[in-house]
């Protein structure tokens, strides 16, 4: 090997190895944290300094009462959650010999649409049971973030959260502290004028998907690697294939595309067309044109 090759490699591997090495040191230094359960924080609106009129005081009192109620609610919900978790554990033990929960009650809204004209219809909720933990998490999120998040439950174990890219970190941090700490993957979707990023978090047997929209002309978002180190490769994949830029990424090299791939060309975008290769490629390109015109000779029938 020439010395050039070695130096190149040195450069290329600095960033990620640091990341892993630091983790090792940290792990040695810091003792394992105890599970920090999310406790209700006091309302900020109540602790405002400065002189206030009587009206404001009355309003304040009301808010305080509301806050008390809120805290009670939260405590109650925390109890509920533990109960439900216990129940789920019991269920999974019982499930061993029992039939699948086909006879579970059907009450919650937001089931997946059932299509007509199909032989056997499925009521998704009937198959997977009634969402319990899902509703509790929905309430928690809505109380914490209010109008910043839009939560929907499609079926048991599936929650979808839409949020703005500025709030992504706070939402993910909240979810991680609540036990949803495994990042399954990040998917990027080309919606035409926008890009969509989907972060699939996992915990308590549930898939929690956080959805963020980015403008096409400036697809930039802060990296999530400071919260979840395992996100590195998924972010690099999205950078390669969809052209989303993750700011402050520790290792923004290419992951899947080769070194001689042109800059600024991202194959998973909808407007990308494969370059025409001689021979077989020319035939495919011709058929593609025909397909656009709507004539016969379509490549995939």
């Amino acid at each position: 090997m020439s010395s050039e090759g070695e130096t190149k490699m040195d450069e290329s591997k600095k960033a990620p190895s640091k990341n892993v090495g630091e983790m090792k040191k940290e792990e040695k230094a810091s003792k394992p944290d105890k599970k920090t359960e999310t406790k209700a924080e006091p309302d900020k609106s109540t602790s405002k300094p400065g002189g206030k009129s009587e009206k404001e005081k009355v309003v304040e009192k009301k808010i305080e009462k509301g806050a008390d109620k809120k805290e009670e609610k939260i405590e109650k919900e925390a109890k509920d959650e533990k109960k439900v978790e216990k129940e789920e554990k019991k269920e999974s033990k019982v499930e061993k010999k029992a039939e699948p929960q086909e006879n579970a009650p059907v009450t919650a809204k937001g089931a997946v649409k059932v299509v007509e004209g199909v032989a056997e219809k499925l009521d998704v909720l009937k198959k997977y049971g009634e969402p319990k933990l899902e509703g509790i998490l929905k309430g928690k999120l809505e109380r914490e973030f209010g109008p910043k998040v839009n939560v929907s439950v499609t079926r048991r174990h599936r929650i979808w959260i839409a949020t703005a890219k500025e709030d992504l970190h706070s939402v993910v941090k909240f979810l991680m502290e609540d036990g949803y700490d495994h990042l399954t993957t990040i998917a990027s979707v080309d919606l035409g004028d926008k890009f969509e990023l989907l972060y699939f978090l996992y915990g308590k047997n549930m898939v929690v998907t956080v959805r963020v929209l980015l403008p096409r002309d400036k697809p930039e978002i802060e990296t999530l690697t400071n919260l979840i180190p395992g996100a590195t490769r998924y972010e690099r994949e999205a950078m390669d294939l969809m052209g989303v830029v993750f700011l402050n990424h520790p290792d923004p090299r290419r992951l899947v595309l080769s070194e001689d791939w042109p800059e600024g060309v991202h194959p998973l975008r909808k407007d990308w067309q494969p370059p025409v290769v001689k021979g077989e490629g020319e035939r495919i390109a011709k058929e593609r044109e025909l397909e656009k015109k709507g004539k016969e000779g379509v490549l995939w029938k």
């Binding site: 892993v20 090495g21 649409k113 199909v118 998917a187 395992g230 998973l268 077989e280």
Partner: protein, 396 residues
């Protein structure tokens, strides 16, 4: 003095293309970087040009070992979008095939691991026994790999009496042999010396780096989709999820051996409870209503996920696949640091890396010099000609 050791992408010691760059201080690895992407075939893009049923066959070819994994994962996602549920026979068949595949994959890895640690006798024993399960797969589906069993709405073949008999005959032999392998893994000094305390991955790190499958379960993380987010017929099947707190390569291999017993149990349950009557599939329409769905599956190597977004036509808008090896690579980089250079093969081998699954896109230019290349039309012509001869036709 630190020396940089590059390994791959083409290297006699590697089974699949990946580039590892190690920095070593004497015998001890201080840094590790894994570069991937040498097997990227553009499958996610190719999904967008095919309808859902053709997409199933493409999903099967993401990986040669976990073919029913990706296939089933996609099929159940599309079924959820359509709002149909496959009949019980199909669900049991998916479990049966999935477990048979898990057995074949785990035995393959245990053999490779034995070979990597220089224990070639065990490698040959295990691969001999693996043929039993390959025969079962062939008897059920007609193929040794790429089984083409699933379709949207069910499966394509019923379980024959011959296959049932073969399964009942083979399972006791496999169980007996697996018991012996467990004994070897627990007591054989060669095995222990090469795996105990090698490639340590503490539970906390495994969680932070999002490890999955036997790699995570070997570090005490309870991550088994069959238990936590059950699909197909798993809610009704009794089995145990295996977790080991050893955190080393030995723990990962032991998790796999113990999982084999659970797989045999599930296979036996499926055949014993096979319904006497009933369809194997329901009819599904070609156009899928607009929507999105997350489908999960416990592959032999860990959790596999399909995100399917449909736009109301017969072709998907976007399909995102995340195969388990991709999730385990950051953990692998961590595992190698602080270990000996000589322990690298077994450390890398114990996560059971599969780069066909992990990389999925690339445009291939044809280079035909001595090889005759059959085009799509030629192949069709050949097939038609072949089946014109009555002797070649398959008897039904």
């Amino acid at each position: 003095m630190e020396i940089t050791v590059p390994l791959g992408p083409q290297h006699p010691a590697l089974k699949e293309p990946a580039n590892y760059i190690f920095k070593v201080d004497g015998e001890i690895v201080t840094e590790c970087v894994i570069n991937q992407g040498y097997n990227h075939r553009g499958i996610e893009k190719a999904f967008e040009a095919r309808d859902y049923n053709s997409g199933l066959y493409l999903a099967e070819r993401i990986c040669g070992i976990c073919s029913i994994t990706h296939n089933t994962c996609m099929a159940q996602g599309v079924e959820e979008l359509l709002g149909i549920v496959a009949p019980r026979k199909a669900l049991l068949m998916r479990c049966l095939m999935g477990e048979a595949e898990r057995v074949h994959s785990h035995l393959l890895l245990l053999g490779v691991a034995a070979h990597l640690m220089g224990f070639d006798t065990m490698f040959m024993y295990i691969w001999r026994d693996r043929e039993l399960i390959m025969d079962i797969l062939e008897e059920i589906s007609g193929n040794r790999v790429n089984y083409c069993m699933n379709t949207v709405g069910g499966v394509r073949r019923d379980l024959s009496e011959n296959a049932k008999k073969l399964i009942f005959d083979s399972l006791p032999i496999l169980e007996e042999r697996t018991k012996y392998y467990l004994h070897v893994a627990e007591n054989e000094p060669t095995f222990l010396a090469r795996t105990q305390g090698v490639g340590m991955l503490p539970k906390k790190v495994a969680k932070a780096l999002c490890a999955v499958g036997p790699t995570a379960r070997g570090s005490g993380v309870e991550a088994d989709i069959r238990k936590t987010d059950p699909y197909a017929a798993y809610p009704e099947i009794p089995f145990d999820a295996i977790v080991d707190n050893g955190c080393d390569a030995l723990a990962r291999l032991k998790v796999r051996i113990l999982e084999l017993f659970e797989s045999y149990k599930i296979m036996r349950y499926c055949v014993e409870n096979w319904p006497k009557e009933g369809d194997i599939r329901v009819k599904a329409q070609k156009r899928v209503p607009a929507g999105e769905v997350v489908s999960k599956y416990e592959a032999p190597r860990g959790e596999d996920i399909f995100y399917i977004k449909s736009n109301g036509s017969d072709k998907p808008e976007r399909i995102k696949v995340r195969a388990p090896t991709m999730a385990n690579l950051p953990a692998t980089e961590y595992m190698t640091i602080g270990g000996y250079l000589a322990d690298l093969p077994i450390t890398l081998g114990a996560i059971d890396p599969c780069f066909s699954c992990t990389d999925r896109v690339m445009i291939v230019k044809e280079k035909s010099e001595d090889v005759t290349v059959m085009e799509y039309d030629d192949l069709i012509r050949y097939a038609k000609k072949y089946y014109e001869n009555p002797a070649n036709r398959r008897r039904r």
